[in-house]
């Protein structure tokens, strides 16, 4: 997982162009989106609802990819897979790690 870059700014540029303020806005939006999604995933996990976990992860994965938060996207993919295979132990680990990945992206955004 560590070989995947945390944030690739080129992705956004290739999607919406070099509109800096717009880019900033999207970054903010993404960060905002992360919060409830992360909690949603955690809550779904606690209720043992694997489909919900998967759906939430998939949802965030879309924007993560669009934003260029590559590691988050990869992590979310892993979460999806674990939810599918009902691997609760790994799922818990990945969800916890997702929190770190999001924090890392936030840091990258600020740079």
């Amino acid at each position: 997982m560590s070989e995947i870059p945390i944030y690739d700014p080129e992705v956004l540029v290739s999607l919406i162009g070099d509109d800096q303020p717009l880019i900033e806005e999207y970054k903010k939006e993404f960060v905002k989106q992360c919060v409830p999604t992360l909690r949603g995933i955690a809550a779904a996990f606690n209720k043992n609802e694997n489909t919900e976990v998967k759906d939430q992860a998939h949802y965030l994965k879309t924007s993560a990819k669009a934003i260029g938060a590559m590691r988050c996207a990869a992590r979310l993919q892993k979460i999806e897979d674990c939810a599918l295979s009902d691997d609760r132990v790994s799922l818990k680990q990945h969800i916890t790690l997702l929190q770190n990945d999001i924090r890392d992206v936030k840091k990258e955004f600020i740079k």
Partner: protein, 941 residues
Amino acid sequence: MSYEKQTIPVRYDQKDETICLLFSYHGNLLSDVPTDTSHPIYQALNLQLENSVDANLLSDLIGYENFEKLRQASWNFGKPCSIPPCFIEHYGNWDISCYPTKLNDTASILVNFTPSSITTGTQLKNSFQIAADATGIGVWDIRFIDDPRSLTESECFTNLLDNHFIFFSQVAKQILGIEINKPITWRTIWDRIHPDDQVTFEQFFTANIFYDIRLNFDCRIADMQNQYKWYTIRGQTLTDQSGLLLRMSGSLIECTEQKEMIHSVVEAENTKKLALEASGIGVWTGNLDSGYWQWDNNVKRIMNIESASVGKLQDWTQYIHPDDFIELKKGLNQAIAELGQLSVEVRVKDKTRQYKYVHIKGNVTTDVISKVNRIDGICHDTTAHRIAEKRMSELNEALEKTVKKRTMELIQARDLAESGSMAKSNFLAMMSHEIRTPMNGVIGALDLVENTPLNAEQNDLIETAKTSALNLVDILNDILDLNKIEAGKMELEFIPVSISATVDNVINMFTAISESKNVELRLEEDNALPDWVNTDPVRLRQILINFISNAVKFSSTNNEKKGIVSVTAKVDQQHSLGQQKSIVFTVSDNGIGMDKKTVERLFTPFTQAEASTTRKYGGTGLGLAICARLCEMLGGQIEVQSEVGEGSTFTIRLPLWETSHDSDLSAIFGVNVAIIGALEENKVQWLKTRLEQLNADVSIVSNITNDTLSDYEMIILLATGQNESEIDKELSDLPVTEAQKIVLVCPRQFKQSLWAKHPSIQILANNPLTRYSLEKINMKDTQVITENTPHHTEKIVNKAVDKTPIAENLTNSPSTILLVEDNPLNQKLLLKQLSVIGYSADVASDGEIGLQLFSENQYKIVFTDCHMPKMDGYTLSKNIRAFEKEHNTAPVPIIAITGAAMTGDKEKCIESGMSDFLSKPIETHKLKEMVEKWHERNSDL
């Protein structure tokens, strides 16, 4: 092949006249021979060399036969050898010996030539000589010059000795150990004869000469090493026609071996005789052909045979007991028939008419043609042996008897002890049951009274009574516990336990009482504490409760200082390794303290600091003893530090293994949290760390402006206000929206009232703030945070416990509950409790009636006491289950009402088919919970 002639030094020992020459294996002369010499051999060789150099000179010299003999003998046997003196023509007799050797790796012979010592005497070439030589018989021959008989005997003998016209054959000399070449006389030999035998020697010789008595005697002669050897000397004089003594010749043979053999045989014989005599064993033999029997003196003595009689079997057996005689005969015949052995014990009447025991053994053997003809044997007196045997067995029997008796005694003692122990356990169990039953009644009744309208004073009294009753039950439990531990019957569970939850639970037990005593309760929990450890939760709690209880008990607040009880739970990283963590709990107080002597006695049962302590402070005095034991069982240690007047600190170290526990993610996972306000010291940082451990995103906000809080989903307000209204204001002043969740941390006493005003917030008590309470923070809308409270210390909660009736099911409709209980008081109580929660029940006073009622009616729950006359609870349960199986009905929940809550009981309940259990004393709310749990569903067995 050609040999190069080499110059070999010739040994020519002139003194002995022996020369040594080297010849090849083929008889060629290899040594150089001096030409001008008078030595006959050399001359002979030189002569021959003139004829041919390469001829087999050796053979020519000594004759082919001799040469072959020499060569074969030496080379075949690989050792030196000699041949009898041979005659070399013109040169006389020579003794020849040779050694096999190698010269430049070629075989050769070293030949010694010695002039044969026949200076005087006849040359004996006859076959006798040869034969004698061959058989190791030495030959001697003396020539008499004058007739020896003309002299006196002694003179004659002297002459004989010195007569040097004597021939001794080589063999004779050899066997005497004398050098062959040395000329000897009888004197030479005489000097070496054993002094004792010299007499014999002289006698025989003179006797033979003078009286013609055959010369044949043995004597000892010393050899070169001065060892005596035996020789047989034989001889005879020879006369001519006129009767003149000419010569005397004879033989000389070594007979040491034979002599020695004879000696040893004789020795053996003697030894045997002596042994037999000493042992008293008699030897007998019988010739079956001739019917001739022989026996020795011993036999005679044993068998009481008269000396004169010998030869017949009857003589031998005349004094044998008639019965035994038959046996003996039988044995004999059998032995003879089977060519086997005879072995019988017979009684023989001795001279004093006493019977003695004799053992007769024999062996039958055959002669050369396998005809059975003889029997040899022994007999010996075994009387003494018999007596000894008898004594021995008597002794053994006596010994065994004693051992048996002893064993019986020991078994009895053991049984007694066991029954004593069992009696004690039974007594305790019974006692616990007997005490609990009325206690149950008391507590139940008090419980019910609480629900009636009471004034404050009555309430207070009831509370006191209830507390006392519950305390008594506690004491009882303690006693049972200690007893169990001492008896080694305490079993520990090992399940995943949350330390924070346990600490929280225990602390909450003491919040009320410490508040009422105005004692501050402080708590410090390390964030490094493992989430889950494997241990016995009940015992861990017990230990903590005991220590904290004591601390609280012995603390107080007065004018000078405020009573403080502080509890910490930390991880000792240095003593932890991997998953094994060393957890250290400390409980300190600033109370009365203890002196050294007290500290030492502290953990012994029924010891309290002072006799007066019990009166003043209450307690069983067992708590610490139990704790110490429990701690030991958990592998931990307790340390005490105390100073009179200053306070005490108890440190409990426990090794606890961290374990993983499949648990959910935190309820505040990923939540954005802001902490506002202050706590003492670095508690705020601690709080932040803990929340982050729970995966929240935490920020400490020091300066509240309207904006900064909007990003956060949850705000934790650490109230600093000193009273309710101040805190209320802090709350209201918070710039938060409806969507944001608020958690308030404030002193416990304000909880209720603040909650009433702000029903949607979560409130955590901060006196003290437990780690576990933080886990309870969640993002739910309905705020229901209840603290873990035990039954008898939280007044408030007790009141709030829901006792509202579950159903409006009263006596008109048939009861759906069956109650089986023999004690009338308990019956009444339970019925009342059930009616309070809205149920009626049918009552059976023992198991039999209960079973009958069950079979006649439909019930949804059965409550049954465990210990009843006729049919007890377990049996009833089994019967009910069997009944259900027979009638194929769904199983009905059976709840056991147990008095003695010992570990084994639980299993017993489950085994007999029960679904759940309640232990006495039963409180109404517990009963309600149980009914709620089981009434509307069938038990899943």
